[in-house]
């Protein structure tokens, strides 16, 4: 582990100092050549060329410095740009989260609606199988009318039956009375014994009582017979 890190360190230092060694070296060389040029006893041409050379080296140093400054500016601007993009993406993420939650709620609502619709459909299917309400009501009304008519008829028939019963009762009670009266008369007339066969025929006729006589018809005919 220690060896690796050492290697790494050496490599890093070489990488960093590689460039720096060039620039640094150049500045040192410039300084040395400047002092040598100041103290040089050489010819003016040599001094001039040396001077030119030094200016050249100086220009090189300045340009490399300018380059690094620009790179530094560029890095700063890149950083800002990335910051902006980063915040933008964060906002997008949160809004997407919100949208997802909204959509989930929507889907729940839609599922509920769909369930209600299906329940409605199922019930509607069952209801359709039953007959229409108007028709059923009409049928009910017709049946009611028929029922009323029939009950009317029944009442009429009942009343008629009662009337006939009463009439029959009257007839039979009158017959009974007449029978009694005739028996009494026969008993009282038994001394005479002249009309007894005729009266016995009368008794037979009255004791049947099969034909229906109205009260009005009956009285005069009884009187008629009695008179006889």
């Amino acid at each position: 582990m220690g060896a690796v890190t050492d290697d790494e360190v050496i490599r890093k230092r070489l990488l960093i100092d590689g460039d720096g060694a060039g620039d640094d070296r150049r500045i040192n060389v410039l300084l040395k050549s400047f002092t040598k040029w100041c103290n040089s006893p050489g010819t003016p041409e040599e001094g001039f060329t040396q001077y030119q050379r030094m200016l050249g080296i100086l220009a090189q140093c300045e340009s490399s410095m300018g380059k690094t400054l620009m790179v530094y500016d560029m890095n700063l601007r890149e950083m800002e740009n990335y910051e902006k993009i980063y915040t933008n993406i964060e906002q997008n993420i949160t809004s997407a989260h919100d949208k997802i939650a909204e959509c989930k709620k929507e889907i729940q609502r839609a599922k509920r609606i769909r369930k209600n619709r299906q329940e409605y459909d199922a019930l509607a299917k069952v209801i359709q199988q039953h007959p229409d309400r108007h028709e059923t009501l009409k049928q009910l009304e017709a049946l009611d009318k028929e029922l009323m008519q029939l009950s009317h008829i029944k009442e009429n028939v009942d009343a008629k039956l009662e009337l006939r019963k009463k009439q029959f009762h009257v007839l039979l009670s009158t017959i009974q009375e007449l029978q009694q009266t005739l028996e009494n008369d026969e008993k009282s007339d038994n001394d005479d014994s002249q009309e007894s066969p005729f009266l016995s025929v009368l008794f037979c006729k009255f004791s049947f009582g099969s034909t229906v006589f109205s009260k009005q018809h009956f009285k005069p005919s009884i009187l008629h017979y009695v008179v006889l």
Binding site: Q108, K111, R112, K115, E119, A122, V126
Partner: protein
């Protein structure tokens, strides 16, 4: 558990813990296994996390029904109801809190208990079993408060209607009875096999699954799975599923049903079968949705195999838990 026993294992019942992180499953050997859902669903789950964290023998016979109240797990099989505390089970302490038996008329034969459900209105446990009666146990006082008699054959399944105080029970005699829990009387009796549209005489008349949504009821078994409107007591949709359905549930706008056949059927309320998602067991007995937790919202199905299928997205099987 030898391989032969694993081969013959059937999972009959499941229940999620109140916190939603554990699943309890009961099999035909009388064992209850506890699975940790948070471990199985985590991104770094291994094969070991799909095995139970705890397995214990709860009853002598098969565990036909499991149900969870807010802190207890109730299990029933051969005539006895046992209660376990979830916190104790999570700590791997397998001592039951209590064991009760409903008052059966004959003491010679102990009928099995096929279905239990908790009635949240009056905190009571509705128990349906082999003695053709529905027993109601008051969970506060621990006594059996009433017996609902009326069925002529054993009861397969029970359900409660939340809005009205009604209990529904489906039995082998083909009738679904609606009981008023306040009056303890049978309010309606629907003989499903008598309706031509639902009846399937080749399968029989027994009703093996009843579930309700207060206004609507799903029932199936021998007759086809059908959706009934409870107010008018009329069948509104018949689902053309082959085989007998053993459990059905309402989920959002869909109906999930399991039964004969290695798939979970998704149906729409209108009567069409939208999808059939394949699973490994040859037939499924139980289906449960985890509504107790938001991050472990899964559907689990178990049947005639030692694997319990877990669905994280309803459209496909994610993985299996195994005993």
């Amino acid at each position: 558990m030898g391989p032969v026993e694993l081969l013959h294992m059937s999972v009959f019942s499941q229940s999620f813990s109140p916190c939603g992180r554990y699943l309890a499953a009961g099999n035909n050997y009388g064992e209850i296994a506890l699975f940790s859902l948070s471990a199985a669903l985590s991104p770094d789950a291994t094969v070991q996390s799909q095995k139970p964290v705890l397995t214990f023998t709860a009853h002598e016979g098969p565990v036909f029904t499991l149900i969870s109240s807010d802190c207890h797990l109730l299990s029933a099989g051969n005539g006895e109801i046992s209660a376990w505390s979830w916190t104790e089970l999570i700590k791997k302490n397998v001592k039951p809190l209590w064991t009760k038996r409903p008052n059966y008329k004959s003491s010679l034969e102990i009928p099995e208990i096929n279905a239990m459900i908790i009635n949240p209105r009056d905190n009571s446990l509705v128990v349906g079993g082999g003695d053709n009666n529905v027993h109601i146990l008051d969970l506060e006082h621990g006594v059996f408060k009433s017996v609902l008699q009326g069925h002529s054959d054993y009861i397969h399944c029970v359900s409660v209607r939340e809005r009205e105080a009604d209990i529904l029970s489906g039995s082998e005699d083909g009738a679904v009875r609606i009981w008023d829990s306040r009056m303890d009387q049978s309010v309606h009796c629907i003989e499903v096999y008598k309706y031509e549209s639902c009846a399937r005489p080749q399968y029989g008349k027994w009703i093996s699954c009843v579930t309700t949504d207060s206004d609507w009821m799903l029932c199936g078994g021998g007759p086809s799975l059908s959706l009934w409107h409870l107010r008018s007591l009329s069948p509104t949709s018949i689902f053309p599923l082959t085989g007998c359905q053993r459990q059905a549930a309402f989920h959002q706008d869909m109906i999930l049903a399991v039964g004969d056949g290695p798939f979970v059927s998704h149906c729409l309320l209108g009567g069409e079968v939208k999808a059939q998602i394949p699973c490994t067991p040859q037939s499924l007995n139980t289906l449960q949705l985890n509504t107790n937790s938001t991050e472990h919202r899964v559907l689990t199905a178990g049947g005639s195999s030692d694997h319990i299928e877990v669905f994280t997205n309803l459209s496909y099987r994610a993985f299996s838990l195994s005993f």
